[in-house]
Symmetry: C2
Subunit: 350 residues, 2 copies
């Protein structure tokens, strides 16, 4: 898991820039009708006819967003795609293409980048997106991945952050907090490993948490599910920074308040038990943990019957008038102001 | 020019991630009808009706692609946009939107990033593109800029690298080699400055070269010019890596050969004189210098009369059958094989 063997590896300079990108992308063949031209020209060309084009971009940086001590490169490639597709799904759209650029120091052998691209390719296959462009370049330190995701949606389906109204229901997909607790487990194991490189960690009971951290899945299923249910969300965002700050984003953009009910927040049993083990409050983790890549959205009250009982969707609160503010209603029926304490990548990380 | 004063500057951590991006982009208001939603949601939304969407992305990395010792941040922001717009123009398209993500270490004060964004804003204003998204994040070292440019073109106008035929004329815009020689001048002055920080460089005679390096302009004018002239190029590419490697790209994608005539290569008098001063062959610089951001394209021989005499366009050769190979025909009428010796960012830089 933490090995760093570099015997018999191919140095990057043996391929050169053009050779490297050709080598890494040689198995990437476009499959979608909307992809007119993929890798290999000055720009990619896509065609969405009369739909809106959606574009989202994100940077992932070694030492800031990921730690290669416990993040296998294949998983990293997969996750880099997920993080960006999640933004397209959060617009209620269909993701169709990505461009992937990497900057890499020459401490990485070609084989390491092949692993990274294997993860990118796996993600693009499972999520049915074409890799249509990108760039490889050298970095003076570490690894950096820049992904741009492209998608489309019919004009009347596109869902912004600013459409929520007072009394709309606040709905979240899946469960929260697992990715963050997976990271806590991995960081603890890294310290154990540093102290004793021969230790064999038994991580079986943390499988779900670690998977949520290392191999998150974006909610590709939600836009078509909502379409099938006949529900047009009034606002939507993906949960990358923690539930609390995402609710605040929706409220600020929509000029509304919100009441979030602690008892409604969906938590996996593995999150509850690991929070007990780490002596952390599980609600705090759901509110501020981040990296869940679930979707948070609002719907009209009239649509409640359409989503009621769906195992993917949990109503966790409702929107209020703006002047009522944003609150967490605790199990003890206390009303606490919601504070954005999401994971903030501009903060110094130790 | 080389100052590095940081008194009375605002530390990045005083703003935080959301505060920083809001602060830097507060003056960016979208102007184009095709921009449905710009900064401030999970993804940007654009609409091109029945046109093809063009997407291009590039990374610029401190210490690899630029050196802040002589590259003012405002120019860097401007250049980062140019590099990407150039790719859209090279598809014979109209550039309309960009996303800009930066990763930055906390050695940069907020004021430095304001300079960078002032350059981005200036470029977006002059080139009539909207900044529709982006991301700021911390880096463990230095500054990195990732730009994605978006544009459109009518289906029948999009120009790929692979459409050149034998006997097509090879045409270049503007003049070549100046950006690379500007870099040579700046690097020489940096060494002088290191030896004597009080030296006052007299760079007047190098103004054109330095401008081409620090403030390149992408050829926004060429797609409409070709349209007005009634010329549909058969293939096109932008010159980022040097004429030689770009000709090779067109030939390989189009499966043709080429003859390039040394005497036809357009050089500014300032390039000729600085090459004499540096004792470098000016043809070599045009072939391998890079960063000119001119356009290289091929046209049918029948279209020659339409472009003849246009001051922006120079015919520098013609395409041949693939088995004839790619050659430079020297002034002495020697036939030398064309070799890609473009500036290669995967090479080790000292």
């Amino acid at each position: 898991m933490f090995e760093n063997s570099q015997e018999n590896k191919t140095n990057l300079s043996q391929l050169g820039e053009f050779g490297l990108i050709d080598h890494l992308t040689k198995n990437f063949s476009p499959k979608l009708e909307s992809t007119v031209k993929a890798i290999g020209d000055d720009a990619a060309v896509v065609r969405f006819e009369d739909k809106e084009t959606l574009i989202s971009t994100d940077l992932l940086i070694e030492g800031v967003h990921f730690d290669l001590a416990y993040m296998p490169l294949k998983h990293l490639g997969y996750k880099a795609i997920m993080v960006n597709l999640s933004d397209i799904y959060a617009m209620n759209g269909t993701a169709t293409q990505v461009t992937v650029s990497i900057a890499v120091s020459n401490r990485f052998p070609v084989e390491a980048l092949e692993e990274l691209y294997a993860g990118i390719q796996l993600a693009s296959k499972i999520y049915n997106v074409d890799v249509v462009g990108g760039d490889t370049t050298s970095s003076t330190s570490g690894l950096l991945i820049s992904v741009t995701a492209i998608g489309h949606a019919e004009k009347e389906k596109v869902t912004y952050r600013n459409g929520a109204k007072a009394n709309d229901l606040l709905v979240v997909t899946g469960d929260l907090g697992a990715a963050y607790m997976g990271l806590q487990v991995l960081e603890r194991e890294k310290e154990v490993f540093k102290a004793n490189p021969n230790s064999q960690p038994d991580l079986d009971q943390y499988t779900y948490l670690i998977e949520r951290q290392l191999k998150p899945e974006a909610r590709k299923d939600i836009p078509p599910l909502l379409n099938d249910l006949g529900v047009q969300p009034t606002s939507m965002i993906d949960i990358s920074d923690g539930l609390s700050s995402e609710i605040i984003h929706l409220c600020k953009h929509s000029k509304v308040g919100a009441n979030l009910f602690e008892e409604k927040i969906p938590l996996d049993p593995a999150v509850i038990s690991v929070c007990e083990e780490f002596q952390i409050d599980s609600t705090m983790i759901a509110l501020s943990g981040g990296e869940d890549y679930e979707l948070l959205f609002t719907i009209k009250q009239d649509d409640f019957d359409k989503i009621k009982g769906n195992p993917h969707l949990t109503v966790i609160g409702h929107m209020t008038e703006e002047n009522e503010g944003m609150h967490l209603i605790t199990r003890a029926n206390q009303k606490l102001p919601l504070i954005a304490r999401g994971w903030n990548s501009m903060e110094e990380k130790d």
